[in-house]
């Protein structure tokens, strides 16, 4: 099966640019990157389906000249899901802006606290639970 170089170069560029953007901090930029990368990946499906042809509509063209309909159905699903992703990430960006006045993707707070424990050579809360470190339940002190 011969390969269409134009499509491959276009798809690679889209994916490369998408990767660059996705590694950013701003959620809007990450989202744009996802969309660009998604376009490239949709093109990959097209490439995998083989050479260009006529629209896969039975009766208007003979099956031998049709483009492959299966990857098209898969891509169609992907396009619509991308709309859902866009909307959801935008809503998240908006919420993040409302709360923090920026739309940066934050580092995980729990992970950061575990890294602090690791740096300080300390054990975690679960260790206290297993060996009884920590204080008695405050409820008791209140009663006392």
């Amino acid at each position: 099966m011969s390969t269409n170089l134009t499509l491959i170069v276009t798809a690679s560029t889209l994916i490369g640019c998408g990767v660059y953007l996705v590694l950013e901090r701003s959620l809007t930029r990450v989202l744009v990157g996802l969309l660009v990368m998604g376009n490239g990946i949709n093109l990959l499906f097209l490439i995998a389906g083989g050479r260009a042809g006529n629209a896969p509509i039975e009766g208007t063209t003979p099956p031998s000249t049709m483009s492959d309909p299966l990857p098209q159905a898969l891509v169609l699903t992907a396009i619509v899901i991308a709309l859902g992703t866009t909307a959801f990430l935008l809503a998240m960006a908006h919420r993040s802006w409302q709360l923090n006045s920026n739309d940066d993707v934050q580092d995980d707070v729990e992970d950061a606290s575990i890294r602090r424990l690791a740096a300080a050579d300390e054990a975690s809360d679960s260790h206290d639970l297993a060996t009884g470190g920590g204080d008695d339940d405050p409820r008791v002190e209140e009663e006392a």
Binding site: L46, P56, R115
Partner: protein
């Protein structure tokens, strides 16, 4: 026997409501369940004595060969009698021990009964895997019972410690069981014992089983959890940690000894650890001031003793072990219950604070004296009978070689260890009795409230057995003989009896008593010696060290791998993409490549535009520009779709791209113009390199893989199938609504979830702010309404709610003209989509565009005029219709998502060809329309309101 266990489960379920209603009296009713089981066991004594086991089996998990098999032999009979008998007595005792308003009493009762049921199941079941299930159930219930007061740190800690230690052993045991069952080809215990397998795998399996048994029975080095478990209420200590659960390990060793005592390592491990435990427990018991802890260390010591005896594996030791097992359960439970009474009535169990209790309560003193005497091995009690026969049986091993694989030296060493242990036992028994009940000259008598008779009943009943069974040696020997008979006949025929004549065992007993009493009399010197010989390192500290190491390791590993940054994770993933498929593709590049530049030159033109737009997108620092450029790549991709022969894709891509752009703009109006005001970081070069590398690798992979394709596409028969089975000519649409309808259904569910997520992020509390029609809205303050003639209509009703400077009359006219056209076009796409480009997705997007035009032209009230319906209702209806159309074929004997074709002759219109999958497509259509409507309401109307409110607030702030 299944019924007995089930009765316990039922009682456990009923326990909580019973306690809530009846208070602590419910314990008396609950005690009837183990009592009934106890009677059932006694009822079957005849069969057990005759050596014919009672057997039951119910199929449970046939694929694992796991049956609820139960078998009542002599060993099981004795264990079950202890478990049910002591269980009933202790439950009755609870009725006096707890006050009615004890926190968590109902759950305590339920857990306690559930534990009794699991313990009964453990000793009766005849399947290794089922035994494991019951084993771990007892662990879990023990955890809950030890930690029954979760507000106390000590009890939380002790519960966790017991859980970790015994579960660790349990897991090792499970592995051992699996190996054993695999080698033998059966998990049925009776079959394993009848035909024991052998070999290195079995040796390992038995060693693992022993780990489980030793941890459960608190042998060195696992012994430390048992004293900790004394944080539990006293009934729990008496039942779980003296009579039943800690005996599970002893039971397992007793069960396996007939078949596996000759396994390499068996005697070495159990005998050495057993002697260590017996001595260590006794030694530690002599240092305790808490009466309960003293007894707990005593239990540790006795458990070591029991395991020594059961592990040896001769007819004499087996019988002696059973007597010891019974004797220990009776006297130790009694002593714990006695401590409970003393603590309950006097408020303390510290033997330094207690004085004169014996004088104040002669009944309690009497039971404690009898039980203590049995523990120390005084005639004529069961403890004496048992100890005598243990000495005799060990003497047989050491002197007469009753067990040939144990050397005489080891036999003597074990015997010496056991006698020394007995000396310590006598000493700590005396310490316990004197400490708890004695009248100390230098202490005021401790105030003691007389206990009600019912409270005293439980220890008295157990004491009666201790005394009575001392005289029933012969009957016991007969009843337990079937278990002992599994071993070959020993050098002497044995029988449990009070009087064996003046022989060495009697001398051993006398020595133990004399030396033990001597240690008690010289207790000051002993304490001094102990203080001098104390060592600071304890197993408990070892446990803490291990736990801390494990936790530190976890923290370090997590800290190293969980960076918490999305970008860091992505870099790792992408690096793997470069390394694995990237490396593979370079090795595959040497083959011939069949490459064409393009299928049509127009592709190259579109490609060039896309590439330029993509590159500029990455360089853009303004949000809106980046979004617009990304949109260009999207439209360009649509162009490529069209050129490739994919009109459905091109249509949908254009529609989605347009909708996305509008949605972006709606949100971006709230966000700053520029992405960031941070200076450019040098790390961007790394990102660039990574992006370029990933893009290149993906391109190369595509180049190689498409060239390597040899198989026929799966879609080759689709054109024919689409018409014949799917009833449609547009193959892509038939794939979506028929061939791969499940995928599409999943996809629209995702859309509903995404829309719901958007709405929750914007509306936060309620989904919609309510739909209001234009005539309910007052005019903006700057607008004066001029009455118009009847019949004159406006282009759109909504814009009158807008301030005049935000209106565009041209846009309103265009929207007015465009809306009906778009709706008709959408309906055409929906109905024609099965045979021509179109379908539910495209139709839904076009309808969404029509709504969007109305919203942009007339504001949020215009949107409500255009679609006065809640988006959630629309999406729900769509999902419901799609699901219904998928399920409906079932009603006609078809399969889910099967299509049917109907031809209807309509007057005037001619023949109408209907395919049922169109109904599914209508569901898809509604979901998509609902999605767009939801986005407009959330990201459009809602943000409009927020902007208005912000402006109003700013004005008010300025006015102030």
């Amino acid at each position: 026997m299944v019924t007995l266990v089930a009765a316990h489960v039922g009682a456990a379920l009923l326990a909580a409501p019973m306690v809530t209603r009846l208070g602590r009296r419910a314990f008396l009713a609950l005690a009837l369940v183990p009592l009934g089981s106890f009677s059932w066991m006694l009822w079957h004594t005849g069969e057990v004595r005759a050596g014919s086991a009672v057997v039951e089996a119910v199929e449970w998990v046939p694929s694992l060969g796991m049956d609820l098999a139960f078998r009542l032999g002599a060993l099981q009979w004795l264990m079950a009698l202890i478990v049910t008998g002591v269980g009933a007595v202790v439950l009755a005792y609870c009725a006096w021990y707890f006050p009615d308003d004890h926190v968590g009493l109902s759950s305590f009762a339920a857990t306690f009964v559930a534990f009794a049921g699991s313990m009964l199941g453990l000793v009766l079941c005849d399947d290794l895997l089922v035994l494991y299930v019951f084993w771990e159930l007892t662990t879990v219930f023990s955890y809950l019972l030890i930690g029954s007061d979760p507000t106390r740190r000590a009890s939380r800690q002790a519960a966790m410690q017991a859980l970790i230690v015994t579960t660790l052993g349990g897991l090792a045991m499970l592995v051992g069981m699996l190996v054993l069952g695999d080698v033998a080809g059966t998990y049925r215990i009776s079959e394993l014992l009848a035909d024991p397998p052998a070999g290195p795998a079995v040796t390992v399996a038995i060693a693992l089983l022993l780990v489980g048994a030793l941890s459960k029975s608190a042998l060195v080095p696992f012994h430390f959890w048992l004293p900790g478990a004394m944080a539990a209420p006293t009934p729990v200590s008496a039942y779980l940690h003296a009579a039943s659960m800690v005996k599970a390990g002893v039971y397992l060793v007793a069960l396996l000894a007939p078949a596996f005592a000759a396994t390499p390592g068996w005697h070495e491990v159990v005998l050495s650890l057993g002697v260590c435990t017996m001595l260590l427990g006794g030694w530690r018991a002599l240092r305790q001031y808490d009466a309960k802890l003293l007894l707990a260390y005593g239990t540790v010591s006795q458990l070591g003793f029991l395991l020594i005896v059961f592990s040896i594996g001769t007819r004499a030791t087996a019988l002696a072990g059973l007597a010891l097992l019974l004797g220990h359960a009776l006297f130790k439970a009694t002593l714990f219950l006695v401590v409970g009474i003393v603590e309950h009535q006097s408020g303390t169990r510290d033997i330094r604070a207690l004085s004169g209790i014996g004088r104040a309560s002669p009944v309690v003193l009497a039971t404690a004296l009898v039980a203590g005497a049995s523990m120390a091995g005084l005639p004529p009690l069961l403890g004496f009978v048992a100890k005598e026969s243990v000495f005799a049986s060990l003497l047989d091993v050491a002197r007469d070689g009753d067990r040939p694989d144990i050397s005489s030296l080891v036999g003597w060493l074990v015997l010496a260890g056991v006698i020394l242990g007995s000396v310590l036992t006598v000493a700590y028994t005396a310490r316990f009795l004197w400490g708890t009940f004695g009248s100390k000259p230098d202490l005021e008598p401790t105030p003691y409230a007389q206990a009600p008779a019912g409270f005293l009943l439980a220890p008295v009943v157990l004491t009666v057995f201790t005394v009575g069974l001392g005289f029933a040696g012969r009957a016991l020997s007969v009843a337990l003989a079937p278990h002992a008979a599994q071993f070959p006949r020993g050098v002497h025929d044995v029988e449990l009896a009070l009087w064996h004549g003046f022989e060495l065992p009697l001398a051993f007993s006398a020595v133990a008593l004399l030396l033990g009493s001597g240690m008690f009399v010289r207790r000051k010197d002993v304490a001094g010696l102990q203080g001098a010989a104390s060592w600071s390192w304890t197993a408990d500290a070892g446990y803490r060290l291990v736990m801390r190491t494990v936790d530190r390791l976890a923290v370090e590993t997590t800290g190293l791998t969980q960076r918490g940054s999305v970008a860091a994770y992505l870099v790792v993933i992408l690096a793997i993409v470069l390394l694995l498929p990237g490396a593979a593709v370079f090795t595959a590049l040497d083959g011939p490549l069949d490459v064409v530049l393009w299928d049509t030159p127009a592709q190259a033109a579109a490609g060039a535009v896309i590439i330029a737009a993509a590159v500029f997108t990455t360089r853009s620092r303004r949000r809106l520009r980046a979004v617009m450029l990304a949109g260009v790549t999207g439209y360009g991709t649509a162009m490529l779709f069209a050129l490739h022969g994919a009109p459905d894709l091109a249509l949908t891509q254009v529609l989605v791209e347009t909708t996305s752009l509008v949605v972006f703009v709606l949100v971006l109006r709230r966000l700053p113009d520029y992405f960031t005001d941070r200076p450019l970081s040098p790390r961007r070069y790394l990102r660039m390199a990574l992006g370029a590398a990933v893009g290149s690798v993906v391109g190369l992979v595509m180049l190689v893989t498409t060239g390597a394709r040899t198989a026929e596409p799966v879609s080759t028969p689709y054109p024919e199938q689409a018409v014949e089975l799917g009833g449609g000519h547009n193959i892509v649409n038939v794939i979506l609504v028929d061939i791969r309808a499940w995928d599409t259904f999943g996809e629209i569910s995702v859309l509903v979830a995404a829309a719901t997520g958007v709405a929750s992020l914007l509306f936060l509390d309620t989904r919609s702010a309510g739909i209001r029609r234009v005539h309910e809205i007052p005019l903006p303050p700057s607008v004066v309404k001029i009455s118009t003639d009847a019949g004159r209509r406006v282009w759109l009703p909504g814009p009158r709610t807008l301030p005049p400077d935000r209106r565009s009359i041209i846009f309103e006219v265009v929207a007015r003209l465009l809306f009906p056209v778009l709706i008709v076009f959408a309906l055409y796409l929906l109905l024609a989509g099965h045979n021509n480009p179109g379908g539910g997705f495209a139709a839904g997007m076009v309808t969404g565009l029509a709504l969007m035009v109305r919203y942009l032209a007339g504001g949020r009230y215009e949107l409500d005029e255009a679609a006065p319906i809640d988006a959630g209702v629309l999406m729900g209806t769509g999902l419901f219709i799609a699901a219904l159309s998928g399920l409906a074929p079932l009603a006609f004997g078809g399969t889910v998502f099967q299509s049917a074709q109907v031809d209807v002759a309509l007057p005037l219109l001619g023949n109408l060809h209907l395919v049922t999958s169109t109904i599914f497509d209508i569901g898809v259509y509604l979901v998509v329309v609902g999605l767009v409507l939801d986005l407009l309401r959330a990201l459009g109307s809602r943000i409009d309101r927020q902007i208005l409110r912000d402006e109003r607030d700013a004005e008010q702030a300025a006015a102030l």
